[in-house]
Each structure stands twice: as structure tokens, then as C-alpha cells.
Symmetry: C2
Subunit: 468 residues, 2 copies
């Protein structure tokens, strides 16, 4: 199906990007066999890792791979959670380590243009330096801009301003045949043919390789506050969040968490959560002028107090807020050692309660442990399927976890489907979620996607075996 790399092809790569950027020693490429997923049976080594320096070099590389039928997988920060950048057919990995240039900071149009390899952490630094604000906060800040676009990443702060799709204005892309194209532009309205820009956002490296992007930003809010609100149980907390939005308050983020997960993160990071009472929490971020932020916080406190909140902690200190957001972002890491898979089903906001309730029933039915937490403001719920449970400060193996894995996974997906949800809200389909695609989409729908793939990538060399 695919050809293996020959000495001649490797020499070709070396000529294009320089010898030091062509890596094939097993020990040096072992980390490229996986992203952040835990299931080792999905890991697979590439034949070579290439670190090009610019779009033209990527174009040259793709011309060779296109001609020689060699699979090419673009890899950002490797922070994916569904195996999206695993080179399951071997071949070439493109690593963007050498492509981190900030090309333009445009203060008039409120955009920043960067190469695809810049990490989110580096991007936030530049954005802050220029007194702008980038609302999305996909958890892991070592993700790259290219990767974030390829998965249409979201994160906690998507309730008020949206996800990556809402902020990507223009991308430069190298297509499989080596041609370089630009989609989108720095305009705020476009009705000029099919939106290929939007087709690329979330396409997981299967249509072309994103090399450059222009991201729109907003003026920073004067203040951001984080509220931690404890409840007796999770159900109470979840039921409050639509009430907040109905009162015309749209926060940056509304997250829900349970105490047992917080304890685990406290233990893992050796940090303290701001609040000890309660068994579940809402974590709400609000922004605006100082006056607005205070007023909004008070209104939220009032709504929560009237609906079962045990207290309301308002965190104003920036550093302390960052710590709390980091604790939230590190949940996956804290659970990872005993996680089989993290699910990413997204339901309408009004259905979160039902989803959580049904998942708890599954947890009971299978006598297992299913940590569940996520974005109460946007319906994106993360559910972990586990092989162990953290009890009295240590991990205890769940009985028959191997047998339960697939059964639990099936049942949770069916719940999501029945509640009009979607398979993945922000992680992407990648490798791990492919088997459920036909539960959420008709055969016709999937075939249309496959046909689109063929147009862009007739030889199927780009990230083959992903999505469908």
C-alpha cells in the first residue's frame, strides 16, 4: 500500500532540510510513536522524523512523499488525546520545532500571524506582551498553533468567545502535491465560495499541512475573576449553570468538578484547592471592567446561593487564578497513570445533567470508577474509563477492568448519541474514536467526508487511517 523509505529518499530529505534535521535513530524517535494516549497497543514508530525550517522545505518534502507514496503525519506538541498524530503506517513525521516564527503583530486589525510550531504557551506570552487577549484555553499549553487548528481545540474558556474556529482568520497550507495555498484572510466577513478555511479547521492533518496561521484576538478585559463554588453534590452544581446563562450572564468559563478528582490533583501536584467543603464544585471565570466583574461575580454568587451552593469563593489574585486553572488543566495528567481512555462527548448544555446521571448509573452497573468533569458552560464532558481507582492515597486496580472497558465505552457513547450529543467536542476523532463515527453520522455523511479527503489527498499520504 505504501512504500518504505529508501536511502535515496533519505538523502533527498537531508538535502532539503539539512542532515541534523533528519532523525531516524530508534531511541530518538521513540517518543514520536504516540501522543498522550495511554493504550500502548496503538503506539507505532515512524521511519523518520523531519524538522523542516519553513513552508518551502515542507513543500519539497511532500513532493517526494507524494511521488513515492510515503505516509506523512504532521505532529504539533504531541498533546493529543485520541492518537491523532500516531504514524500508524510508519513513514514520515513532520515536527514543527524549527517553525516558531512570529511573522506579524497587527495592532490595527487585532491579529497575530505565526508559524505553526509556536506553542500555546509561547503564543500567550506574545499576546500578553502586546496587550491583547486570546480567550481559548485548551488545557495543555505545550500544544502548537498548528495542532490546535487541526483539532479545532476548545478548552475551558470557550463559553463566551468560542473555540479555535472562531479565532482562525487565515491559514497557509501545503497540500499533498507540494502546492502552497492560503485560505481565509484578515477580513471579518466572507461570502466567496466554499469556506476551505473552515474545512481545514478540525481536519486533523488529513487534507494538508498547516504551516502558518493568522489568529484574531480581542482587547484584554480589565479584570478576570475566578469563582469556586462548592455544592453538596454534582447534580446541584450542574443544574445551576443554565440558570446563570438564563440570567443573561455569559462567563468566560463554567467548569464542573467533583471533590474526589480535586483530591487526586492536589495529591499529584502537591497544591491546595481553594475550598475544602462540598463534594462538587463549579469553577466560573468572568471578565469585564473591574466594576462589571465584581457585579457579575455578585450576581452569580446570588444565583448559586439560592440554588444550593454551600459558599462562594471569589479569587481576584491573578497568580492564584492561574494556579487554579492549572489544577483544572492537570486533571488528565493526575488520572493518566490509571486511565485507559478519556472520552470527549459533547451534549447540548441542557442535557449535561442527564448525561452525568446516566454515566453514574453505568459506573454503578459495572462496579467501576468513571471520573467525569468538564465544561458545564458548553456541554463538553470528559469521562475517563479507568483501570484503577484512587482510594486511601493509592491506586487500587478495578476488578475485570479489561472486560469492562469496551462495554462501558459503548454504553457511554450510546448515552451521548441519545442525548443529541456529538462524538468529540475538542479532542478530535484521531484513531481511538473512529469506531463510533457511524453511531453519530450516517453512511452518506461519512462517505461525503471520505470523498472530500480524496480530492485533497488522492494518494492518501496525509495522516492515513485517521478520522474514518
Amino acid at each position: 500500500m505504501y512504500n518504505k523509505l529508501s536511502e535515496e529518499i533519505l538523502e533527498g530529505f537531508k538535502k532539503i532540510i539539512g542532515e541534523k534535521n533528519v532523525i531516524y535513530d530508534r531511541e530518538k524517535i521513540i517518543d514520536y510513536s504516540h501522543d498522550e494516549i495511554t493504550l500502548k497497543e496503538f503506539y507505532n514508530l515512524p521511519e523518520v522524523v523531519l524538522k523542516p525550517n519553513n513552508n518551502l522545505e515542507i513543500s519539497e518534502i511532500l513532493k517526494i512523499c507524494y511521488r513515492e507514496k510515503i505516509p506523512v503525519t504532521a505532529r504539533g506538541g504531541g498533546t493529543g488525546l485520541s492518537g491523532g498524530c500516531i504514524p500508524i503506517y510508519g513513514g514520515v513525521i513532520i515536527d514543527f520545532e524549527n517553525m516558531k516564527k512570529v511573522i506579524e503583530v497587527d495592532k490595527e486589525n487585532f491579529t497575530i500571524t505565526v508559524e505553526a510550531g509556536l506553542t500555546l504557551k509561547e503564543f500567550y506570552e506574545i499576546v500578553n506582551k502586546h496587550n491583547m487577549f486570546f480567550p481559548p484555553h485548551p488545557g495543555d499549553e505545550s500544544a502548537t498553533i498548528g495542532g490546535l487548528i487541526a483539532t479545532n481545540a476548545g478548552g475551558a474558556r470557550a463559553v463566551k468567545y468560542g473555540v479555535m474556529r472562531n479565532f482562525v482568520k487565515e491559514i497557509e497550507v501545503v497540500l499533498p502535491d507540494g502546492s502552497i495555498e492560503t485560505f481565509g484572510g484578515k477580513y471579518k466577513k466572507c461570502s466567496s465560495g466554499y469556506s476551505l478555511l473552515n474545512l481545514f479547521i478540525g481536519s486533523e492533518g488529513t487534507l494538508g499541512i498547516i504551516t502558518k496561521a493568522t489568529i484574531s484576538l480581542i482587547p484584554p478585559s480589565e479584570k478576570i475573576y475566578t469563582l469556586i463554588i462548592p455544592f453538596k453534590d454534582l447534580g446541584q452544581g450542574i443544574k445551576v449553570s443554565p440558570l446563570i446563562i438564563q440570567k443573561k450572564i455569559i462567563p468566560l468559563a463554567i467548569e464542573f468538578l467533583e471533590k474526589n478528582i480535586i483530591n487526586l490533583v492536589e495529591n499529584y501536584l502537591n497544591k491546595k484547592w481553594p475550598c475544602e467543603i462540598g463534594n462538587a464544585y463549579l469553577m466560573i471565570m468572568v471578565d469585564g471592567t473591574e466594576e462589571e466583574t465584581l457585579k457579575t461575580s455578585e450576581k452569580i454568587a446570588e444565583i448559586c446561593s439560592e440554588n444550593g451552593a454551600l459558599d462562594v469563593f471569589i479569587i481576584e489574585d491573578e497568580k492564584r487564578q492561574k494556579e487554579v486553572l492549572d489544577m483544572r488543566s492537570m486533571i488528565y495528567e493526575a488520572l493518566k497513570s490509571n486511565t485507559l481512555e478519556i472520552l470527549d462527548i459533547t451534549v447540548p448544555v441542557s442535557k449535561i445533567y442527564n448525561f452525568v446521571y446516566e454515566v453514574k448509573k453505568i459506573e454503578e452497573k459495572y462496579k467501576t470508577y468513571i471520573p467525569i468533569y468538564g465544561h458545564a458552560g458548553d456541554g463538553n464532558v470528559h469521562t475517563h474509563i479507568m483501570k484503577g481507582e484512587f482510594k486511601e492515597n493509592k491506586w487500587v486496580e478495578i476488578e475485570n477492568w479489561k472486560e469492562k472497558y469496551k462495554l462501558v465505552k459503548d454504553e457511554i457513547h450510546i448515552i451521548g448519541k441519545n442525548l443529541n450529543g456529538i462524538l468529540s467536542g475538542e479532542h478530535g476523532i484521531g484513531l481511538l474514536k473512529k469506531e463510533y463515527l457511524s453511531l453519530f453520522f450516517s453512511e452518506k455523511h461519512i462517505n461525503l467526508m471520505k470523498e472530500i479527503k480524496k480530492i485533497f489527498d488522492p494518494n492518501n499520504i496525509l495522516n492515513p487511517g485517521k478520522i474514518f
Copy 2:
């Protein structure tokens, strides 16, 4: 290339939707030969107009047309400005007059689901009744929801909350072979394969026929104010608008207009503009709580006064605000009798001044009249190519307007391209803008669009001859 309708096929249509909904008398279908464009050489009659009652009937109609190779053009309110719904190959027009059902008002998820034939005016009424707010305001309220999605319409109030693309959550579509598919859903995050929803938004009826849509809404603002700000000349006004955004104020709308156009609208509608001084105006809409709205208005007034504004009129009265917005929306109508074509080029906000300046030079060079106005907040500029000029209360023919038409049109498009603009911001490519597609897109880009069209519509029966 296409087949003509036979008696047998017409009988088939009558069986599906009832005899009274199949219309082919010339005098009754004459209005279906065009939209709001003025160039009569582009008008073309359909063979028949069908008024189906639901999606299943549309499916049955398409099955026949697909089999028999008969062109099908969906028509919403017929308010288009680029000939998008003109049946240039004859065949069938689908009129959505009988498909105006409100299917669901979902207060928990803040969405409303309607059939595609509901007009914008009817939609606003339902939205208001349920105490929600739909920010976009594409000028002509007799446009339908289906049409607004098919062109990714925008309008004046797109600066703060965005265009149709930002509000369409789910669509039901009948594909050319008659299959019925749903794209999108009531979730706020999705990273599950290629976004076919976004591919359909702005596809101008060429990929499938939209029959139903779920639109997201926001809580209504307590107050909306409209500010009218006169300047000595247009350049001054345009230069102020980026300053407002840089001061972290994001209004609902920032429009720019010249006095001569306002006079024309006053004359046409027999209504008075709120302000007589100045030669150009900014019209700014702000929303928020009463306190916020007042404060924002004051801040804007301050910025404008420091930068050349002759005065600032703040309109609080709702009815008066509606009148002013209507006057803005009626500019096209007021100019229409002497308009050859309205252009819809969109440039980065920072380039509006340059665009207007360059267009004024063209106006002078060709001794013609080019009314120019539009959305200073989002870069979407409307430029009219005219055959007459309104002088001393009557239209005076422009010398050699026929010869100047194409030359002026070419030059304006080249200006737009050179300023990194895009061909159409909200009107769509339709029929009239096709010739400039290759100025703004590479051959490869256009070919990718054509290939996508083929996947969805292999027999090329849906709105053939549009976009490319």
C-alpha cells in the same frame, strides 16, 4: 446538457405537492426570473415554480430532477444582490413560501429551530417574543433563513457578535439525490471530522437544499443605543472607527455614510435623518446594561470629539433607532433605479480608509459617481457602479456610463485585491461576481471548490452556473 420538463414530469410534481403549488403561467413566474439585481440581461425564466410543503416533498422533487437531469434552483426571499437565485438554465425553482414553521423554541439551549422559508422579519418577531436576541441584521428583512445561511449573510450588526456562520448550529439539507441529511447540532464544541455544516454555510444552494435550521441566540441586552456622529468628511469618520476598537469598545455596528447618500434616502423614503450638519457620518450601535450603554456611548463620544466629530447624537428611543436602521438598510433601494451593480468587497478594517480613498480617485478619473458606504467595523464596503447621479432632486445620466462600467468594476476589484481584501463579504458570488473569482483565488483553490461541488452534486443540477 439539461433536459426540458415533460408533461409527465410536471404531473409527477403535481402528485407530490398538489396542483396549486405547481406554477408555470408566464405572468405568475416572471418575478422568479431575477433577484434584486438591475441588469436585465442576466434575467432568466424558470420553466416551473414549485412550492413544496415540507422536506419530504423536496426530497421527492429532487429525486425526479436528479434522474431526469433538470436544474433546480432554491429561492428564498429573492433579495439577493448578485443573481444567486436566477435560474440561468431554466428548470425548476423551489419557492419556500409554504415552509415557514417554527419547529422549536429551546429556552434552555438558547436556540430556535425553523423551516427555511421563514423570513428574517418573522424570525425577529419570534425571537423578540421569547425574549431572546439575534444580533445579525442583513439589510432586507424579507430574506429567508435558508437564503441567509446559503449566502452566509452579515449586515450591519456583525462587529461584536459575527455573521450567520457564527449563529447556525444545525441544518437539515436535501441532497441532489433526494437523501435528507443533518449537519451540526445543538452543541457548542465539535471536533468530529470535516465540518460539512460550515461547508454548506455560504454555498449558495449549489451543494444541497437547506430545509430547516437551528439558530443560536443570545440573551437580549438591556439597552441598545444608536449614535449618529457627523464629520466634515468621510476620511475623518473612517479613521476614527479603529480608534474606538483599540480603546476596547466593541460596538454592535459601526457604519459609515456620506451626506449625499443620506439625502437620497431622505428623499426616497420621505424621512428625516437625525442630523443635518457634516458631510459624512458614523452610525454606531452599542448594547449592554443601561449603565454600560450610557458609559460606552460617552466614551465613543469622547473619542470622536477628540478626532474631528462635529457633534454626537445619541438616540435612545427604540422606534427612532429602528427608523434610522431602516434608512441605512434602504440605501440600496434608494440608489437602485440608477445602479448598474453593487459591489461587496471586504478589506481588513485597517485598510478601509485606503480603499475608499482609492475608489474616490477612480470616481474622479472616470468622471462618474460611485456611492460608497458600509460597515466600518468589519471592513465590508459597498460600492455602487451607477448610470446616473442624483443632482438637484433628479437623476442625471452619467456620460458614457456603458463604457465606464466594466473599466470601473475592474479597477475597484484590483484595489480590493491589492489591499488583501476578498471579493464578497456578504452578498455571495452568485452570477455577477464569477468573473473576478480568479483574481482572488488561485486556480488550484477554485478547482478544489469545483471538485467538492462534484461530490455533492455529480449531475450538476443544483443552481448550476453559480459561484464558479
